[in-house]
Amino acid sequence: MTLLDVIFAGNDAVYGLTEKAIDDAIAKYGEDKAVSFPSTAYSLPCYYAVTGTKVTNLKELKEALGVVKTLMTREPRLHDGFMSGIATALCAEFIEVLKYIDNPTPYEAPCAGHLPDAAIRELGVPLVTGDIPGVPVIIGKAPTAEEGAAIVKEYQAQGQLVTLVGDIIDQCAEQGVKMGANVRVIPLGKDITSVIHVVSVAIRAALIFGNIKPGDAAGLMEYTKQRVPAFVDAFAPLNEVIVACGAGAIALGFPVITNEETFSVPKSLIVQKDVSKFVATSNEARGIKIKITKIDIPVSFGSAFEGEIIRRGDMQVEFDGSRVDCVELVQMKDLSEIEDHKIELIGPDIDEMEVGSKQQIAYVVEVAGKSMQADFEPVFERKFHSYLNCIEGIMHTGQRDMIRLRISKEAYNAGFRLKHIGEVLYAQIKNEFDAVVDKCQVKIYTIPEDCTKIRHEIAVPTFDKRDERLATMTDEKVDVYYSCIMCQAFSPSHVCVVTPERLGLCGAVSWFDAKATHELDPSGPCQVVTKEKPIDERIGEYEDVNEVVKKLSQGALEEVSLYSIMEKPMTSCGCFECICGIEPFSNGVCIANREYAGTTPLGMTFSELASMTGGGVQTPGFMGHGKHFIASKKFMKAEGGIGRIVWMPKELKDQVADALNKTAKELYGIDNFTDMIADETVTTDPEELVAFLTEKGHPALSMDPMM
């Protein structure tokens, strides 16, 4: 038999039972006998939601069964299977409502049966907010009562709303599992048809919270799929009725996980032979992410400890990357390669290390997720510093393979061990980056050979590859740029357009950062900017970029160029690292960095320049920018590029010399370009500046006039 045959057979069986039950009821009570569930305004909620029709008496119920029959088409197509699943669910609802004829309480404690609307409004809020992360529907009999209870308790501990159908209820009772809505474990009933009461919850949630109109079956299924995080755990053996009900669940978007060797349908019907892995498999299948509210470590955690200094005398042990091999690394893996929340220590723990000694360590955080990208690795890694410093009694400095980590005697005595580093990294990454990280595991190595190997054979090549990617990224190689309006709170009309070769003027937001910010917070400050409609490639002006800038500046800015300082230059907020301004005598530009307090050949200090440049206004001839932008090939490309730079403070010049000289060599074939650039030790007088430039043969002197 194929899976479809099983579904059809189950559907037929349930339909037969339903028809008989309704006929019997009509024979007993007459056609006009009223049928209803207690305390709901939604009649038979499932049938009402799917068809838009309210059923009030047995006659109408019989008619409704005729409508259900029309869903039971028998073409060997997936759609027919789903519809038969829905038909099975509706039949179950009919059978259940018959139980309520002349009997307001057909279910006795602990079983709940039908849940009133009030319960749904109450449960709906935590469901919508994510406080209830998921709704497991557990059906049947677990291999042993212990295993069944363990699964229920695990879901319960995660804050999920567990519903139980069938023998699992007795198994839980036997194991002393507390049940009831207040502890989020709701036994529905012993018959398989009682499963409809949780479906009814999902469906009424869609009507109440999703504003789905009764009769809009497609909208309903879309809502339950997207918004109701329910799934089914069905224990073997499965009969055809359970399979038919399962098809209904799948039609609503709820995956079914079973330990029976049966057909499997990717993402929908999943076989997990090991019931101890039901929870992990189910959560992954439904995309349920559990928020970690308390990190399991023996010391406090919080930003209050971020600045804590641990002196040599107070430290239990130190990991020092300047002396021995230490490294921290995030690596993206495939979902199947990661066991979520696995923290592994490979090598000796702090107990076995001499007090006050220098040790090696390598901790590798492996992450996987459907929306994860390798470009996020360094974004996560940069957060380690803050995460680890937030631990009471831990001090962390540096990054990559230049880290130092001190653990205080106090933390050690409180029970802090290396696995707790893993716990913190795990919890923080999962919480902060839950939009992209589905699974995360941590490996901590302390054996010298391992650390050396990981540093030099895995980490360093990874870092090199990342740097290489950054260095070779060009504006032309990417399809989109990003806008950044983080500064609009105080500079209302300013918009940064961040490109691979032009980072945000604050110096803190690279194209990668903006991209990550966007993916992690899609409605946040960084949005995608397309650049499909070039207006003028020379100055880097695009129709689509202009549209975004106009929209985000609320109309204050209409046109902006990415590569020109003279024509429609990009605006500045006020947090620029540097300001570049035109120097008319030399036909070039001077740059001043924020740290530089003196005057420039323009006769102005940084602050005076800033007052002309900030506030989101376009001032041709002046622009704010990040330090890294100075060596970019796109630096005022429209006016001839970095060859225009005639003066900058010595400190800044030294900082950017290597990168700037490299770019000058590539663009103009000039060696040691920075030697041609004046600084405050040469002069701040415009005439002397021209003399200096003439002597050095500076390229700006022979370029076209800027004005």
Partner: protein, 314 residues
Amino acid sequence: MPFNRKAHKFSASIGTVEIGTGDKAIKLGGENVMPFYTFDGSMGDGPKVGVEITDLGLDAEPQGVKDYYAGCTSFADIAKKAEAMPGGDFVVLRLAGGDPNGANKSTEELVAIAKEVSDAISCPLVVEGSKNVEKDAELLPKVAQALEGKNVLLMSAKEENYKAIGAAAALAYNQKVGAESAVDINLAKQLNVVMTQLGVSAQSIVMNTGSAAAGYGFDYTISTFDRVRAAALGQDDKMLQMPIITPVASETWSVKESTAEESDAPEFWGPVEERGIAMEVETAVACLVSASDAVILKHPKSVATISEFIKSLM
């Protein structure tokens, strides 16, 4: 050359949000012009005035407020009197006592007060939270539940707790929800975006884009108003077209101009209560002419003055 008047027409308009039930229900928003430009278009039903009371009673209130409520012995009494205040359109209950760092009243106690107030009046009710995001996330959904059917506006849904308050207020119990952000057009918009993504319809959202007493960083409040309205009307930005409600009393009555005793203040400052009213009135006027579709006041004189002000400009 004769003066040729040109109307400044916008193709967009501010949404309308109805609060309350029955005859006394009010509509906030609905305008398609800059504030009070009635000669250019419609101001909808015009700006409304709310009368604020709190769960903390009257002890700390200025004398004029105490006098107005004299004889009231219960929250129901106070609420009825607030409803009767000349010039007021709706009552605002601020649950200030819920703040865990203050009186830390229990959710049950505050819900009971809200119920008492709501049952006592027939005009629309607005409920403000405690200013503590965790407490409000617990408190306001319970208030929404207890006042089901009254179509109240629950203020104080912020970035940190909008899900709990938005879902309970607007989805589960069909109330209206106030989206509060801190004087930043982008934050205001982002909150409206995520709130609508939650499933709350734009017609159920009123914004509080931030408030301050005049002279206390007030220019940020006003420039945010300006920008929000420019985007809503000028650029038809749907996610900024919610009406704006601005709590004024809770800002202006705590600044030194309103609290310094005559003996401590410079000579020319005059009586303390007059100053408090002046601060409340001038702040409210500035908000109304900038964007606010409703202001929340508490002194009977201020309420009467502002109400008269609105009438004379409409």
